[in-house]
Point group: C2
Chain length 172, copies 2
């Protein structure tokens, strides 16, 4: 990722990334489908954490509250790496290709969450709407967190952003 | 679009589309940046309608209600073309490239709505969360509408889906 920061994503080749990491190109492609994937290396772990937290939440918990717990857990997972996340976000923001890939990852997180909610017995369209609302909160909380002016911690921003979503949908 | 339905998006060339439409390739590229754009020809009109409806909503209306009005207006704009929309959605679903483009269009709708809400005096993060919630409702309502089993009209599905979102975020 340091290379993307130095030269820009478009000007960095897989050969250069592999060299910097001490890998052959062949080994690189065993780990990553393409050079965009380097920046989304943690996506599978994040998805597992969200899905497992929702699946393991007490049955008595409302769907949105279960998703809220999962978002705070994600906030704890990612929350120690603010400078890294800021650099990464700046690289993504500068490239249309990377913004696309990010949108796809978020859509896939949302689909996985909706699936987990349906397995908890949440009917449609509620499962998909709860999942989409959760991912909206995730995005906005993350954006607030990487914003230079913000001092709040990521799990707190997840909780706070969900509170804001509840207030705006209630029409306050 | 008929050609995409017959041959698949990947197997259709710009030359073939232009020929079917009685255009030169040069004229085609004057109208569309690439062959994906053909399927998103109405995106600008949709964005204008959403933005203008929110901008013109009475000041007394809560942000989410203003967005709800805009979604119903969008439902009326698009709601007469269910068979067309079903065909179009099947083509998009079959192509990763087209799903990407669709996600980008939705992200840009959300950004435009958030911008309009901020100009109405809605602070952050409420403006972005309201916009994201609105786009989530738009997506889910649209999916329900193109689903073969559904007989409800699109404006009604927009209103109904927003109702579901309000219920799930309230933790019902």
């Amino acid at each position: 990722m340091a290379l993307y920061g130095e030269r820009g994503f478009d000007n960095t080749t897989v050969a250069e990334i592999a060299e910097r990491a001490g890998l052959t190109e062949r080994t690189f492609f065993r780990h990553f489908a393409d050079k965009r994937e380097v920046l989304f290396d943690g996506a599978a772990a994040l998805q597992d954490l969200l899905v497992n937290t929702v699946a393991d939440a007490p049955e008595s918990l409302a769907a949105m509250d279960a998703v809220g717990e999962a978002l705070e857990a994600a906030g704890r997972l990612m929350g120690d790496h603010r400078d890294f996340s800021r650099q990464r976000q700046a690289i993504i923001a500068a490239s249309a290709e990377l913004r696309e890939r990010e949108l796809i990852k978020l859509a896939s997180l949302s689909a996985a969450l909706a699936d987990t909610l349906r397995r908890r017995g949440v009917p449609e369209p509620d499962a998909s709407l709860t999942a989409e609302a959760g991912i909206a909160v995730f995005r906005i909380a993350f954006e607030r967190w990487v914003d230079e002016g913000n001092e709040m911690q990521l799990p707190d921003l997840m909780r706070d952003s969900l509170g804001h979503l509840r207030a705006v949908t209630a029409g306050a």
